[in-house]
Amino acid sequence: MADYIIETLDIEKIYGNKAKTHALRGVSLRIPRGGFACIVGASGHGKSTLLQLIGALDKPTAGRILLEGTDISAMNDNAISKLRGEKIGFVFQAYNLLDNLTARENIETAMLFSSQKPAKNRAEALLALVGLADKTNAKPNELSGGQLQRIAIARALANDPPILLMDEPTGNLDSQSEQEVLQHIFNVHKAGKTVVMVTHNREIAAKAQLVFEIHDGKLKEGV
């Protein structure tokens, strides 16, 4: 029996009270541990919403989400926060680094919310992993888009989570930076992490083991 680290069971997501927007309609998918999955589709069809629900940043209106076999839909805020801190690493399109902190401090901050103590050495090792050992004390406004996204990847790895969720991680990058960042993402996956990436880019999706196409809130499974 396959070991699925992520499972969604018939999830629905409706935004708004009066003017309702049906973002997801009965989406069910399964991603095996160590897999590399891409979620593709046109803008506004529910890709990011699906990723956010998998990442426990939001709750589904209906259906269940299992992470490592545990139903997160019924968890309280504290338990979900703990789960996010220890099991999931996020990489956003807009990097979302804290502007007033250095590269190293951004990574250390992520460690504040897990059971492991913030460690300067580990933060520096992660920066070295993404090729930015010399940018330890650089602030976000001193770095390029590609560098910012590599720091975001290092931050996502801060607590050594088994799952990395990435929302258009190369969407804001030029082609050279995109290739660099993708290489780091592939490296992370090879190291054993489960990677789920939302992307517009079919070429990137073609390199994934699993591709889920979302259209109008519904899932079409591809290859």
């Binding site: 956010q52 996010r84 801190g85 680094l97 007033n100 901050t109 460690m111 919310f113 897990s114």
Partner: protein, 388 residues
């Protein structure tokens, strides 16, 4: 990285806003410290002045309003309503060891109001235990000269041999008293009969300070004095009590002013923290996405406002302390509140006061930060990221 370091970096992110918010709480706490110190100082000084009177009983004309009691201590002008022969009658009561008359007159030196007290020189020197700093004491009971308090002479740079003008008459300064740390230091003294003559007053006095042999039998003396004439007799404690009652009202007023300053500072913190909550929604979302519980977000914002309180309390204490030291002598030059003290009087530094002020400041700041912190903690990760 620690939560505290994160908080500190957040505070310093907008240095201008940080400085102005800190300034708000600093000014609030400084006003609080300065006004309360002055109030406490006033109370301590009144107690000191009452002790300095050295009397067991104060005899005044009846039906004067209670506020007149304050004038006894400030040396302000009092009605000259007690016939002088009453002094002799009181002195003759068995067990009365002293009956010292005071005639308080409003006067001035170089158009600045100054208290002038008409006294019996020999009795007064014995009663108050004065020493002479410069020159000589009154040469006799009816000498046409004045003796100045130490601080008064210093303030007007007057020396022995100089003169003061009273009702157009040049009166020589016979001597200057040594400092007593009481109201005597800012008072001008002249023999009673000369004061009555120059100011065209009859043979009346303003009040009489009476000392008795047996303080446990004070009611008997009061009864004996009131048998002589329809006079108001207060014990030293009663006099002090009624003055402190008046000062209590003054203290409440000062506290109210200080409270307004503190409330304004608290709203400054609320405003800053609400703005921070709004501006940092994206950051809150990022922290939540990284695994921060809503309780930690709450703690971060409360710590930020608490740090404003801690720093504002410390700065406010020292600023307020400095202001009260500078202001007390200036205020004491106003005759009405002369009782605040002599120019040497200053607010005493107290670690307890410092700790109390800082604790109060932190409590106010934390209370002010609760609502913004609750608003920040209530944001869901997606609300924060989407709207940030």
């Amino acid at each position: 990285m620690t939560v505290l370091k994160l908080v500190w970096k957040n505070l310093l992110r907008r240095r201008g806003r940080f400085a102005f918010t800190l300034l708000g709480i600093t000014i609030g706490m400084a006003a609080f410290v300065a006004l309360l110190s002055m109030g406490d100082n006033l109370r301590a000084e009144v107690t000191h002045q009452a002790d300095a009177l050295g009397a067991n009983l104060i005899v005044m004309a009846r039906a004067d309003c209670p506020f007149i009691n304050l004038s006894v201590l400030t040396g302000d002008h009092l009605p000259e309503a007690i016939p002088r022969e009453i002094v002799f009658e009181i002195a003759a009561i068995e067990g009365v060891t002293g009956a010292v008359p005071y005639l308080t007159v409003g006067s001035s030196i170089r158009q600045v109001p100054v208290s002038l007290v008409g006294i019996l020189p020999a009795e007064m020197k014995r009663h108050r235990g004065w020493d002479v700093h410069a020159g000589a004491y009154f040469s006799h009971q009816e000498a046409r000269e004045v003796v100045l308090g130490y601080a008064l002479a210093g303030r007007f740079e007057l020396e022995t041999g100089d003169t003061v003008t009273l009702r157009g008459e040049e009166i020589p300064i016979a001597g200057i008293l040594s400092a007593t740390n009481s109201n005597d230091d800012i008072t001008m003294f002249m023999p009673l009969c000369i004061t009555q003559e120059i100011f065209g007053l009859g043979d009346y006095v303003s009040f009489i300070a009476v000392t008795v042999a047996d303080v446990t039998n004070i009611d008997r003396y009061i009864s004996a004095i009131t048998d002589i004439a329809n006079l108001s007799v207060s014990t030293n404690e009663e006099l002090l009590g009624s003055v402190l009652l008046i000062l209590g009202s003054l203290n409440v007023t000062l506290q109210a002013i200080a409270s307004v300053a503190l409330i304004a500072a608290a709203f400054g913190i609320i405003n800053t923290m609400m703005t921070a909550t709004y501006e940092r929604r994206r950051e809150i979302g990022i922290l939540r996405a990284m695994g921060s519980r809503s309780g930690i977000i709450f703690r971060i914002f409360v710590l930020e406002s608490g740090l404003y309180g801690l720093l504002g309390g410390l700065l406010g204490f020292f600023v307020g302390f400095g202001v009260s030291r500078i202001a007390a002598p200036v205020i004491s030059r106003n005759e009405f509140v002369a009782v605040v003290g002599t120019p040497d009087t200053a607010v005493a530094f107290s670690v307890t006061l410092l700790a109390g002020v800082v604790a109060l400041s932190v409590v106010i700041a934390v209370a002010a930060g609760l609502y913004p912190a609750w608003k920040a903690a209530k944001l869901t990760p997606m609300e924060a990221i989407r709207n940030g």
